[in-house]
């Protein structure tokens, strides 16, 4: 479907995830109220998040209620945790090490 890294790259979409994490479940019009853009734009962002599996929705009457599914974020978590070893060590130390190879 859609890459989870890509889905999360947009600040509006991260904002949507934050709201859904906080509120549990919200209808579209409530979400729209929190952003400086129209309903169509927010709806599109939610579609992207749905394609990435990060949100799910259910229809209740005339509303569509959206809620978070955080599971796909495991992928990002796993990827980024690999790099922890590199930021733990001082950057300058790495630089010196690389420069020192010539001596």
């Amino acid at each position: 479907m859609r890459d989870v890294y890509d889905a999360v790259a947009d600040p509006t979409r991260r904002g949507l995830l934050d709201l859904l994490a906080q509120a549990g479940e919200l209808p579209l019009h409530d979400l729209v109220d929190r952003f400086p853009m129209g309903r169509t734009a927010v709806s599109k962002h939610l579609t992207v998040l749905k394609e990435a599996g990060l949100v799910e929705d259910r229809k209740v009457g005339r509303e569509t209620l959206y809620h978070l599914n955080a599971a796909p974020l495991r992928e990002i978590r796993g990827w980024v945790s690999f790099y922890e070893q590199f930021w733990e060590q001082r950057i300058e130390r790495l630089k010196d090490l690389l420069e020192g190879e010539r001596e």
Copy 2:
């Protein structure tokens, strides 16, 4: 400058970071050899990564050597770790909880 989430959204750019993590330091033409695209495209991706602070470069003779700076990834790590609490609990349980509100 450039959003680190955005910089990391592209699979080619994640590939570049992986290569630099492994090799320590590589010149542009070595990086180009590993991807199915031209020098200009790879160079542009490296520029994006530089704008996000994820790579740095130094000129040695006629080569430009690129190396990783993983520090900005802390931002992503921090953001995503907030969501751990949501994927730890079973998704079905959350759903049942939300549906149960009406009874």
